[in-house]
């Protein structure tokens, strides 16, 4: 019964919430009404947008020494998680069989494990930094902590099910993934999709005013 629920209705429900929620949130951002900028353009908004989207991948050199740990841990976590999600053999197989109908070459098992280790270490360090730094702690909301813990739990249950020999452990992992998908559109996890438009928006705004930032 639980197996049927997790593999069937709950999976489709969580997928629907995720897809509709993400589209709704992105739509509401993109189509939100904005005041017309009446100022005289000093520079190109488009080039400012493109420049900012890419320049934000590296920290400003003025603050780089202070945030070195966050940058390294951030890249470890995000790249590790990306590799895990889209190149781990069980995930590629799952996407092929249940969603896309086609697959691609997965990474070798050792790379899968190393990616998971990078992702775990990065996530633990980022979350701890959020807790120990007074400024980060003050500006963090409950959602930030829930997102970190939920993502950690999803990764941990995936780690527990690595042997792929137990239905119960597979179901536990899939259940936590479904919770994660349902929570995704209503949380800070949306930055997965919004970081590009938000950088572009700020970059365009700065670019139009000739601000080099």
């Amino acid at each position: 019964m639980i197996e049927y629920l997790i593999d069937g209705p709950l999976w489709y429900f969580s997928l629907a919430v995720f897809c509709i929620g993400v589209v709704w949130q992105l739509g509401s951002i993109i189509f939100a009404s904005r005041k017309t900028d009446l100022s005289v353009a000093r520079d190109s908004a488009t080039s400012g947008a493109v420049r900012t989207v890419f320049s934000r991948f590296l920290p400003h050199k003025e603050i780089a020494p202070q945030i070195r740990m966050q940058v390294i841990a951030g890249y470890m976590f995000h790249l590790g998680l990306f590799a895990l999600l889209f190149f781990a053999a069980p995930h590629v197989l799952f996407l092929e069989e249940h969603l896309l109908g086609f697959g691609w070459t997965p990474m070798p098992h050792w790379a899968f494990i190393v990616s998971a280790q990078f992702a775990f270490l990065g996530l633990i360090m980022l979350w701890l930094r959020r807790l120990v730094n007074p400024v980060s702690r003050l500006i963090s909301t409950l959602d930030d902590h829930v997102v970190a813990i939920l993502t950690f739990v999803v990764m941990l249950t995936g780690c527990f099910a690595l042997l792929e020999g137990s239905t119960a452990l597979r179901l536990l992992h899939r259940f936590t993934v479904e919770l994660w998908l349902i929570y995704f559109p209503f949380s800070a996890l949306m930055h997965t999709f919004t970081f590009v438009p938000s950088r572009a928006f700020i970059g365009a705004w700065f670019g139009r005013r000739g601000i080099d930032a």
Partner: protein
């Protein structure tokens, strides 16, 4: 009719021919170690004929000899792998027995003992107070990065300790409570988690070594701290620098025993680098014994760093410690803080923690 007759003749002739011998590739002396066993049975039997009872007894006798042997009898095999010529690993039986009884018993006793010692110590001594209470004025002890490194190591270590203890003690302790099916799940999950998190412990150790190593080098005055039992025995606090002798010893225990655990863990988790079974068995014992030492001492560290000593936990929570705590436990460092005017008032500390006003970092000794 002629065709039928010729077929009958050819079939009759074929049945009288001796059976063909199987053709093995040249250079292969034996198919597997089992063949060596049978060859030895035939040699001892001497009759050259098959005798089920006699040869059965000889097999049992040989197996007994192999199990009780100090050396593993080596056969030959076409499989070119480490130990592929070994039919019975007598050492493995002894290791399995040691792992299932001695290791389990002593590990459980060690954990129970440390908890009893801590409870007794708490009852007798209570929370070690700061004379006159805390002042509220603080001094910065650890940077954000140092605390992140400490807690990362702590989280990874705790996860490994819990999963490791489930694997070590779960069979006698948890299986009777939760049943075989649930324990099988728990053990499988623990094993996968333990193997994946193991290398993270090594990375955390290296970060710990880089962040804290320099300040944990032993110096003049540390021996006095040791001779006075760190102040836990008797009354009054003992002189100490930024880290006292006890903290430094604990630190080097973590680094050195942690390295032993990490390296032995890597040997265990990567069995495809030519390690023999005996190496794996010895490594496993080294891994468990060193991990148990670290687990037991870490329980004492957790106690002393939290409920055992007033004001100690603040250093790893906020990064600041009360100046009276510094004067009491680390007087040489406390004196340095007084001289360098590194003390932060209670009001400023509250502001730094975001309780009021703007936030700015004060000058610190570490410059971080």
């Amino acid at each position: 009719m002629i065709l039928a007759c010729s077929m009958q003749l050819s079939l009759a002739g074929a049945s009288n021919l001796p059976p063909e011998k199987p053709q093995f590739p040249t250079g292969v002396s034996s198919l597997n170690p089992g063949s060596e066993l049978w060859r030895e049975v035939r040699r001892r039997d001497g009759s050259g004929e098959f005798n089920e009872v006699n040869q059965g007894l000889l097999v049992n006798e040989l197996l007994r000899e192999m199990r009780s042997s100090q050396q593993m009898p080596q056969g030959t095999s076409q499989v070119e792998q480490v130990d592929s010529g070994v039919l019975i690993n007598a050492q493995g039986k002894r290791w399995a027995l040691f792992r299932m009884t001695t290791l389990v018993d002593y590990s459980a006793i060690a954990i129970a003992a440390i908890f009893i010692i801590i409870v007794l110590f708490f009852v007798v001594r209570g929370k070690v107070p700061i004379e006159g209470g805390l002042s509220g004025n603080v001094v910065k002890r650890f940077s954000d990065y140092e605390r992140v490194v400490h807690w990362t190591l702590a989280i990874v270590f705790l996860f490994l300790a819990i999963t490791g203890l489930i694997l070590l003690l779960g069979r006698p302790l948890l299986m009777p409570l939760f049943g075989k099916d649930f324990f099988a799940l728990l053990a499988s999950a623990s094993k996968e988690g333990h193997n994946l998190f193991g290398p993270l412990f090594l990375v955390s150790l290296i970060m710990m070594l880089i962040s804290f190593g320099r300040r944990n080098i032993y110096e003049k005055g540390d021996l006095t701290w040791l001779l006075k039992g760190g102040g836990l025995i008797g009354k009054g606090h003992v002189s100490g620098g930024f880290f006292n002798m006890g903290e430094k010893t604990w630190y080097w225990m973590v680094i050195l025993i942690g390295l032993v655990i990490s390296i032995s863990g890597l040997v265990l988790v990567s069995p495809n680098f030519g390690q023999s079974r005996v190496i794996m068995e010895l490594t496993h014992i080294v891994h468990v014994v060193s991990a148990m030492i670290l687990i037991v001492v870490s329980i004492g560290h957790m106690y002393l760093g939290s409920i055992g000593s007033e004001g100690a936990l603040e250093g790893m929570k906020s990064g600041y410690v009360d100046i009276k705590w510094a004067d009491a436990h680390h007087d040489r460092w406390g004196k340095h803080c007084h001289e360098q005017d590194l003390i932060v008032s209670a009001e400023e500390y509250a502001r730094l923690q975001g309780q009021t006003g703007n936030i700015s970092e004060p000058a610190t000794e570490q410059g971080k």
